[in-house]
């Protein structure tokens, strides 16, 4: 359905049998120009609408909130978006499949605790420094792979698999936490999150690198292209000989790896390992992705769209705080604007989203 899916489809020989192709076939038949025109217009809105919304939000806050449009504040917003951005890059690959991942909190919590206990900390004698990232990423990827394998091999819906896996992760985190939060004592290591380069926190730069990696994987690897294709038409991709199960499992593993990087930044930033640091991040990431145009129905959007969503969510949070909106109202206003943004973004596509679940 999406632009990125087509090269992958072509290379696997899909497109030879128009009757089986459904929407792909329609898009390739020049005669069905009306359908195509509407679809592309919708796609354009989906792609650029969120960016326009972000620009509007920024303009509004710059106008109404005194401190919003200062360099310091914008650097803050980017810093505050770093962890969520990386996590959202990860979940984007799962959402592209048309699957869902609710295990982010569990995976991140487990990774936070593993990481915080491996670096120099107040609980034990470990001092792995930057090398601690390796086991943490392995833990994250292993959790993700477990999600993927259980979903694809045992045919458990990703919704249930990942809810379960989240509980497993939280359990592991709680065991490691053991009621005493380890303080991260390695200052130079913490500089990876809170140190500044040209006034931006290094966390911001790490996030930018992760986003770039995400974009490359999405656009230039089989994993990324198949993920989009599977989300658009899994049965067709399977018929064309792609090992769908393998790529689905890999997408989950990749997501887990991204969560683990986010977790590393999170505990370095906070300076402690706490099993509750990652609370609410899962729904924030899903919200951000959907607001940005990576729809839950799969096959739509991508890493960059999701990141626009992250910025919308974070700008909104920051702006409302600066605006002196009553604290109790802020959350409600955020919710209304988020739902409104999704409705607006998907409006031109609603005829194509035939079934909404």
């Amino acid at each position: 359905m999406s632009i990125d899916a087509r090269p992958a489809m072509r290379s696997t020989g899909v497109g030879t049998s128009p009757r089986r192709l459904g929407i792909f076939a329609r898009r390739r038949t020049a005669n069905a120009s009306a359908v195509r025109a509407r679809a592309t217009a919708g796609e354009r809105v989906l792609k650029w609408g969120p960016l326009a919304a972000l620009a509007l939000l920024c303009m509004f806050f710059a106008w109404r909130a005194e401190r919003f449009a200062t360099v310091d504040n914008l650097k803050n917003v980017l810093d505050q978006s770093a962890v969520l951005s990386i996590a959202t890059v990860g979940i984007t690959f799962v959402l592209l499949l048309g699957a869902i991942d609710l295990s982010m909190e569990g995976i991140m919590s487990a990774c936070v605790m593993v990481g915080a206990l491996l670096v120099m900390n107040s609980r034990n004698a470990n001092d792995w420094g930057l090398f601690a990232v390796i086991p943490v990423v392995l833990v994250g990827a292993a959790f993700g792979l477990a999600n993927g394998l259980i979903t694809t091999r045992l045919k458990v819906p990703s919704f249930m698999t990942t809810v379960g896996m989240s509980a497993v992760g939280l359990g592991v985190a709680q065991l490691l936490f053991d009621g005493d939060q380890p303080r991260v004592l390695d200052r130079p290591l913490r500089a990876w999150a809170i140190g500044r380069v040209f006034g931006f926190t290094r966390a911001t730069l790490v996030a930018v690198v992760c986003i770039a990696i995400g974009v490359v994987i999405q656009r230039h690897t089989r994993l990324g292209r198949y993920a989009t294709a599977i989300g658009s038409a899994e049965d067709i991709v399977a018929l064309s000989g792609v090992n769908v199960r393998r790529y689905k499992a890999l997408a989950f593993a990749l997501a887990g790896a991204f969560y683990s990087i986010a977790a590393v930044l999170l505990f370095l930033k906070q300076g402690t390992g706490n099993d509750e640091l990652a609370v609410n991040v899962n729904f924030a990431a899903i919200t951000a992705a959907v607001v940005g145009g990576t729809l839950l129905s799969g096959g739509q959007g991508g890493v960059l769209q999701s990141i626009v969503g992250v910025l919308i969510v974070k700008v909104l949070e920051n702006g409302l705080l600066l605006l002196d909106v009553q604290p109790a109202l802020q959350r409600a206003v955020q919710g209304v604007i988020v739902v409104g943004a999704v409705v607006a973004a998907t409006w031109p596509l609603r005829h194509r989203l035939r079934v909404v679940k």
């Binding site: 990703s158 009621g179 658009s232 609370v279």
Partner: protein
């Protein structure tokens, strides 16, 4: 197109919906229990006004006592159960540890239960525990998840004839005296804690300057009371200006973000940060640290180990302790004393049935004493369990 995935997703949703629905009807069941319990109870007359009458029914409470010292439990038959949300919370873990120490001191073991912020799970656990065994010798020391959970828990304990002590959460119109084996409800005056730390912070600031406040979840009584304490202190200190008040939902991570934004908003005008719990204080300190604002006073509540360390190190100004190990021990001790007949619940004064307990302000002066949570077992002697009463619930 991707119907299989969708079917899976739908199946998942359905399952969850069904589970939720089941929980819903469970709650319904709970709500129904009081009335059925009331009609079968030995003294139905006292139950009728209980839901609305509140403390006016105290005089009738005595009639309810069907278990005087005569059929007291043998000490070795007593079963001790402590239940909190989460052992990952250092405070709640220290609570259960205190319970263990008490249990060991009377030659018993405490059953440690946790329900992870899940009200339904909390109630199910209690019902499960009370479904078998000689429940009339069971002693429950419970931290109800929310105020709404307290009545169903009290009703379940009543039906099983178990001894109950609850802490922190209880709706004002639910009277302990209406239950013959609900020995006590212990709480802490949030207004007092909020005020204590505010005054300490104002003193550290030299009585003037701007502060920001990070509140807890706005719907909770604790958040409201603690903030009311801050406001009382503000009223008495005209030199202090409240620049901003925001909520960080008790969360360390959220506090860091919120304060980061507030620092851009108010800059160097911030001389003090008042937070409604230590988790947020720790997050706030990270934000201040990152901004290079090391001379800002930070205060919190709860005395989690890391905050106590920070106070001892001088990085944080003050926190307040409710003394988790004491709470975990004393709740079981009150129930145990009642079960073995050393305490006659019916003759306890109103101040001992529902009371605020003393809390301790922790500053650099005394932080070292609190570094390792510990209990004084003599405080759990039946004669001493009410020594920390500071006053009736207000």
């Amino acid at each position: 197109m991707h119907s299989r995935t969708m079917k899976r997703l739908t199946a998942g949703m359905l399952l969850v919906t069904m589970t939720l629905a089941a929980c819903g009807s469970d709650d319904g069941g709970d709500a129904a229990t009081p009335s059925s319990a009331a009609s079968t109870s030995a003294a139905p007359a006292t139950d009728a006004p209980a839901t609305t009458g509140g403390s006016e029914t105290t005089t009738a409470g005595g009639d309810d006592t069907t278990a005087p010292a005569g059929d007291a439990c043998a000490p070795e038959d007593v079963v001790l159960i402590g239940q909190v949300r989460d052992e990952t919370n250092p405070y709640e873990k220290s609570w259960l540890d205190g319970g263990d120490e008490f249990a060991a001191s009377v030659g018993l073991e405490q059953k440690r239960l946790t329900y992870g912020d899940d009200s339904t799970k909390e109630q199910d656990q209690i019902k499960q525990e009370l479904s078998s065994g000689n429940t009339s010798c069971y002693v429950l020391n419970i931290l109800p998840n929310t105020e709404g959970d307290t009545k169903p828990i009290a009703d379940a304990a009543k039906e099983a004839g178990a001894f109950l002590v609850t802490q922190w959460n209880k709706p004002a119109d639910l009277a302990v005296e209406d239950y013959d084996r609900w020995a006590s409800h212990i709480s802490y005056d949030g207004v007092e804690s909020g005020k204590l730390i505010a005054e300490t912070m104002f003193h550290a600031m030299g009585g003037e300057g701007g502060i920001v406040a990070l509140q807890g979840g706005l719907a909770t009584t604790a958040a409201k009371d603690r903030f009311a304490g801050l406001q009382e202190a503000l009223a008495a200190n005209p030199g202090i200006e409240l620049l901003d008040e925001q909520t960080a939902n008790w969360s360390q991570a959220e506090a860091l973000t919120v304060l980061q934004t507030l620092i851009t908003k108010h800059g160097d005008k911030i001389k003090g940060v008042w937070t409604a719990n230590d988790g947020m204080a720790l997050g706030a300190m990270e934000a201040l640290d990152a901004a290079g604002m090391s001379d800002v006073a930070v205060v919190g509540i709860d005395a989690v180990p890391e905050a106590v360390t920070a106070v001892a190190d001088g990085r944080m100004t003050a926190t307040v302790s409710s003394d988790g190990p004491w709470q975990g021990g004393v709740g079981l001790a009150i129930g145990y004393c009642a079960a073995i007949g050393e305490i006659d619940i019916a003759s306890l004064t109103a101040d001992n049935r529902a009371f605020y307990a003393n809390q301790t302000l922790i500053t650099a002066d005394n932080a070292a004493d609190f570094a390792t949570p510990s209990v004084d077992l003599t405080e759990f002697d039946c004669a001493n369990v009410f020594n920390r009463v500071s006053g009736p619930l207000g």
